[in-house]
């Protein structure tokens, strides 16, 4: 059902955990639906110095969360905002069609974390 790459990210998730002093935190999904993910970002000079995640959900939800941290880490905010759900799925060698909608939320979580970072920055001004 899943590609080897999905299973690899599910079994060996990259950058799993929290960033206690994160500059931005984004949470999407809902445990009622079966998927909930939180992405933490640390920003320095407009670049994502660190990206971590925590996820409740199926294999696809965990693998996409892991993949987004790899895709986003080291990128500028501008570049990170361009990462789409499709990019995440492609980088994982594809996802089953039924999972494309419900479990492929990682890009949204990253964008929410960046939004949170921007809001906090605004508030500090």
């Amino acid at each position: 059902m899943y590609s080897e790459k999905v299973m690899d990210h599910f079994m060996n998730p990259r950058n799993m955990g929290e960033i206690p002093d994160a500059d931005g935190v984004g949470t999407v999904g809902n445990p009622v639906c079966g998927d909930l993910m939180t992405v933490y970002i640390k920003v320095e000079d407009g670049r994502l110095e660190d990206v971590k995640f925590k996820t409740f959900g199926c294999g696809a939800a965990i693998a996409t969360s892991s993949m987004i941290t790899e895709l986003a880490k080291g990128r500028t905010i501008k570049e990170a905002l361009k990462i789409t759900r499709g990019d995440v799925a492609d980088s994982l060698g594809g996802l089953p069609s039924v999972k494309m909608h419900c479990s492929n939320l990682a890009a949204d979580a990253l964008h929410a974390a960046i939004e949170d970072y921007r809001k906090k920055k605004e508030a500090k001004k």
């Binding site: 599910f10 998927d35 959900g57 696809a60």
Partner: protein
């Protein structure tokens, strides 16, 4: 790697004795039971023997009360639609429950569109239906009570005898979906006042695509398939002789081995349940602690999701099921778990272990060694896990 298959409710191996019995009816004895010549006679005799064996398993008085079908879903369709349409002149009310197999639920929905009224009696948090509550729903328009013998998912066994008596006393036809129960726990249509009983072959180590419906003599029913009039006109279509022979043999073996196998499976099931509940915090049993199918353990784990549990266990050679939405075609969690009062997020975290003949106590030990690590790893990944649990 050790291989521990504990998903028997989803699919079972065919017993080697069943396979051997079926073989000659594929390549040598391929005659049609309706043919008057000698090839037909061989098939006819084999069919009669198979029918007799299934009849004995369910306690039927006469073999001809057993009709072969393509499986549990067809048996349920024939029973419920067949009785409903045939008895339309008497009434239009059907009583069932909230925890039935999806086939029964969807058949009833279909009949509702055609003007039938359906009452779904609830089950309690352990999955038991209260016969008194069911009795209160009977009206002079009630033509059928349909309830499962045991739930394949949460394992709970219903008080069928009491419900059968209520249906009988009120002269309402009584259908029992015994797909998950037949061959595992004793079922007796005569003693339990059952008019129609659905069973499936693969749920007792017979071939897939085979089932049967017991129909008590005198039950008013009409066919759902029109054709050549096989199976007393109730199930037209050329007989699947190898399948029927296989199911008959499976029924005979199940009847012989039910008691010893039931005792053995109950012991390892209880060891699994106790082992999990004792070693994994925030784990719970779904269904009834004692009134449950011998090989069934349905457990749930807070803060994590069932499909990821399945994948994690599969990597260790263990195959199980889940009531999580992520493993269903509809992306909805198990309707059974919701019906017994679980929240969506609780239903997502359920795992169903269904053990069978090839499972041993060593298999249970292996699951008990493997599962805590999988649960721990997923809880570390989950944002829902309380921090103090991870220390």
């Amino acid at each position: 790697m050790r291989r521990v298959y504990m998903d028997h409710a989803a699919g079972m191996p065919v017993d080697s004795r069943v396979f051997e019995a079926m073989k000659p009816f594929c390549r040598e004895n391929y005659g049609n039971p309706s043919s008057p010549h000698s090839y037909g006679a061989i098939a006819r005799n084999a069919l009669a023997e198979a029918r007799e064996r299934v009849a004995q398993l369910v306690g039927a008085e006469k073999p001809e009360e057993v009709i072969f079908t393509s499986g549990g879903t067809e048996s349920n369709n024939l029973a419920i639609k067949g009785v409903a349409h045939r008895n339309r002149d008497k009434g239009n009310h059907i009583i069932t429950t909230t925890i039935e197999h999806i086939s029964v639920i969807n058949i009833c929905k279909h009949l509702q569109k055609q003007g039938f009224k359906v009452t779904q009696v609830p089950a309690d948090k352990e999955g038991l239906v209260d016969p008194e509550k069911l009795k209160d729903e009977i009206t002079d328009k009630t033509i059928l009570v349909s309830i499962m013998y045991a739930n394949g998912e949460i394992g709970t066994i219903q008080p069928i005898r009491e419900i059968g008596k209520i249906a009988h006393d009120n002269k309402v036809a009584f259908h029992v979906d015994a797909v998950a129960a037949a061959g595992k726990v004793p079922t007796n249509v005569e003693e339990e006042n059952i008019d129609l009983l659905s069973i499936s072959s693969n749920d007792m180590y017979g071939p897939k695509g085979m089932g049967a419906l017991y129909i008590k003599k005198g039950t008013r029913i009409q066919p759902i398939l029109q054709g050549g009039g096989q199976e007393r006109g109730l199930r037209s279509g050329t007989e699947n002789v190898p399948g029927m022979v296989g199911m008959g043999t499976a029924a005979e073996i199940a009847q012989k081995e039910m008691e010893s196998e039931g005792t053995r499976l109950t012991a390892i099931r209880d060891k699994l349940i106790k082992g999990v509940l004792d070693t994994i915090t925030s784990s719970y049993l779904n269904g009834h602690p004692t009134k449950r199918l011998p090989g069934n353990a349905n457990l749930r784990f807070s803060y994590i999701e069932g499909e990821s549990l399945i994948l994690g266990l599969d990597m260790l050679g263990i195959q199980v099921s889940s009531g999580s939405a992520c493993t269903s075609k509809t992306l909805e969690p198990s309707h059974v778990l919701l019906a017994i009062g679980l929240a969506h997020e609780e239903a997502h975290g359920s795992l169903v272990f269904t053990m069978g003949k090839q499972n041993s106590e060593e298999d249970v030990n292996y699951v008990l060694e493997s599962l805590p690590g999988v649960v721990k790893r997923l809880r570390e990944i989950s944002p829902l896990t309380p921090k103090e649990m991870l220390r």
